[in-house]
């Protein structure tokens, strides 16, 4: 059985990466999808296979009338997936000449695609409005990477941040992250793991955002998983004993899209919360460093570990399915239970309707 939640919104790509006239191919939860914008800018998503000879539609072009034209024999499809123009013979369009279209929404500077059969409700898109409210200068580069691993291993990584002390050498977290007590809270289909670390040495990245002298701080981190695979980390530091609102930090967006059972696309960006009034050049340098440090940590530290972990799991099989868990695993266990529950709910609903 697939590990994907079928009826869900997934991030396809950053909205800014989908220019006019472009057709972008994405595999999302096993579906090959061609994504493009109609001339008025509205995003559309069709199955990436022409029903005629199975040519991938992303190798075609967007017509001035907004149809997607297959690059092989010139059939045109509208945004609903119906064939609109058949340039051959008498131009007859059989009913079977149509492709599946996917519900698609542009929100929070991302293009979201719904892969399920049930009605797509845009209200179910995870709330990432922090990125809409921030000034452009307070949002880092909108980045993306790929991991050859199941998306749940990446969620496990993000929902237990105790690994930062070991894997990321003190930049994103340190001993205090490991020692801190965690609390796990669940609200509907989202799970939050919080750590409150009073009077600790600031991890390198947070010292850079704050006093910049390594002096002790109160440090917080609360990472929320929103089903099926988006995470938002609220992390920051404040002066020892001072209220959180007087501190500074980031919202880290970690948006995972399962490609297939062994590949995950990972969109990420950081949004500054309550940035201190540093001079413009210092602020710009901080944003650049944030981009570079985070990318380095994710690509050169998380990615090799998670991919290697996936290879071990594939090799040993069942034994790895029963990990011996630690106190820090409360969050990962809880989100997997929620995912299981969603799978059961969706299967039951399909059974009723089907």
């Amino acid at each position: 059985m697939s590990s994907f939640i079928k009826n869900a919104w997934y991030v396809a790509l950053w909205a800014e990466s989908l220019g006019p006239g472009q057709i972008v191919q994405r595999e999302i939860a096993g579906h090959d999808i061609a994504i493009y914008r109609t001339p008025d800018g509205t995003p559309a998503a069709l199955d990436d296979r022409c029903p005629h000879r199975s040519a991938p539609l992303h190798m075609g072009r967007v017509c001035p009338n907004g149809n997607l034209q297959c690059g092989y024999h010139g059939l045109q499809f509208d945004a609903t997936g119906a064939c609109a123009v058949n340039p051959h013979g008498k131009g007859i369009i059989p009913v079977a000449l149509r492709v599946r279209s996917y519900p698609v929404v542009e929100r929070h500077s991302l293009i979201w695609v719904w892969t399920g059969e049930q009605t797509a409700d845009p209200a179910l898109i995870p709330d990432l409005s922090v990125i809409d409210r921030a000034a452009p200068k307070d949002v880092t580069f909108r980045d993306v990477l790929e991991m050859d691993a199941n998306y749940q291993l990446v969620i496990d990584n993000l929902l237990d941040l105790s690994h930062v002390a070991f894997l990321h050498g003190g930049v994103l977290g340190n001993d205090s992250t490991v020692a801190a007590d965690i609390s796990v809270t669940q609200e509907g289909d989202s799970v939050t793991v919080s750590r409150w670390m009073p009077n600790v040495k600031p991890p390198g990245l947070f010292d850079m955002l704050f006093q910049r002298d390594g002096s002790l701080v109160d440090h917080w981190s609360a990472i929320t998983w929103m089903a099926p695979s988006c995470l938002l980390n609220n992390a920051g530091v404040t002066a020892v004993g001072a209220p959180q609102r007087e501190g500074t930090g980031i919202f880290g967006l970690h948006l995972l899209t399962p490609v297939n059972e062994r590949k995950t696309v990972y969109h990420f960006a950081a949004v500054r919360q309550n940035p201190l009034p540093f001079p413009e050049d210092v602020h710009a340098k901080i944003m650049e460093d944030l981009k570079v440090l985070r990318r380095k940590a994710f690509v050169t530290e998380d990615e090799p570990m998670i991919e290697a972990q996936q290879r071990v799991i594939d090799k040993v099989g069942a034994e790895a399915a029963r990990p011996v868990l630690l106190a820090v695993d409360g969050g990962p266990v809880r989100y997997r239970r929620v995912l299981d529950d969603i799978r059961v709910r969706q299967a039951a609903s399909e059974h009723r309707h089907g």
Binding site: A179, Q186, G241, R322, D329
Partner: protein, 318 residues
């Protein structure tokens, strides 16, 4: 916790592996008053919270003094106090709380300190000397170099009432009988120190007929935070009707295993859910993070590796 911000005005190495910290208010205002035997929670660098007894004269309002033993193999609370905290640093602490007060009694007070357990007892000695009540303080340490506050005690007005014992006391050799023998029937005993030391002191007193209301104790464990006392209860196996007692310091899993009943476990700390067991009667005291709040509230299942009972008995579906 209701918290205070304090500044570390002084940090002194006062004995081998023991550092004393003088904490003062950040705004020059007097600190909240405290009684002898009180402790404060300290938010230690590294995210841990640790309790430390106040050891200065309870008449003072300009400072709190604590002393911390460096525990090399602990979770890092004492290490952080020793290695990270320095003079001038700010710390967040709770207001003083007292679980170890002096009894309102007029008889002789016998204070028995083991190692770093001197801290609350030194504070009591200050107070008893101040109000002119009779007391004797016996201070056991492995060696003189490990005994904190030697100079302060020798220079104090009550130095005549203090006896040092530097003779590897934790091997069970000290003759508590001889120390307790002269005490009158109205004497009260106060003890603080390592668990083995205190257990020996209290066993000796009880064997001499001291009633519990004359025995005052403060267990400290330098590292794990104070745990409110867990109680004993019993579990019944629905399949056979057998009743198995669970001692206060025992998990349900351990109690069952001791009787030959084995439940599969993995994480042993309420995370993985492997040992999930149905509860047919009784109210569990949930200590896990596996079950959701709603599942815990239903009280029809629990994790016997860590959870306990609010009712006297749980009937388990095994």
């Amino acid at each position: 916790m209701e918290s205070l911000r304090v500044r570390v005005a002084r940090k002194d190495q006062i004995a081998l592996d023991i550092a004393a910290f003088e904490l003062v208010s950040t705004d020059g205002m007097p600190l909240p008053a405290f009684e002898a035997g009180s402790h404060v929670d300290v938010a230690v660098p590294g995210g841990l919270t640790r309790q430390y007894s106040l050891c200065n004269d309870p008449g003072e309002s300009h400072r709190y003094q604590i002393a911390v033993l460096h525990v090399a193999d602990g979770r890092g609370g004492s290490r952080a106090m020793h290695e990270v905290v320095k003079e001038g640093d700010l710390l967040v602490i709770s207001k003083p709380r007292n679980h170890f007060p002096l009894a309102n009694a007029h008889g002789h007070s016998l204070l028995l300190a083991g190692g770093i357990g001197i801290t609350p007892l030194l504070c009591m000695a200050e107070r008893l000397a101040h109000i002119g009540r009779a007391f004797t303080l016996h201070y056991f340490a492995r060696s003189a170099e490990r005994a904190a506050f030697r100079d302060r005690i020798r220079a104090s007005r009550f130095s005549d009432h203090v006896h040092f014992h530097f003779d590897e006391p934790f091997t069970g050799k000290p003759d508590f009988q001889a120390l307790l023998a002269p005490a009158g029937a109205d004497a009260h005993l106060y003890t603080c120190g390592p668990k083995g030391f205190m257990d020996a002191v209290l066993a000796c007193a009880r064997s001499r007929g001291w009633a519990d209301d004359r025995l005052h104790k403060e267990y400290f464990s330098a590292e794990p935070s104070r745990i409110e006392g867990d109680g004993a209860f019993e579990v019944q196996l629905a399949s056979s009707g057998r009743v198995i007692p669970v001692a206060a310091d025992q998990t349900v899993i351990a109690a069952l295993a001791a009787q030959g009943v084995h439940i599969e476990t993995s994480c042993e700390q309420g995370v993985c859910g492997t040992c999930l067991t149905r509860v047919l009667e009784g109210e569990p005291d949930h200590r896990d993070v596996y079950l959701t709040a709603a599942e815990q509230a239903a009280n029809d299942q629990f994790l016997p590796c860590c959870s306990r009972a609010k009712s006297g008995r749980l009937v388990l579906d095994i």
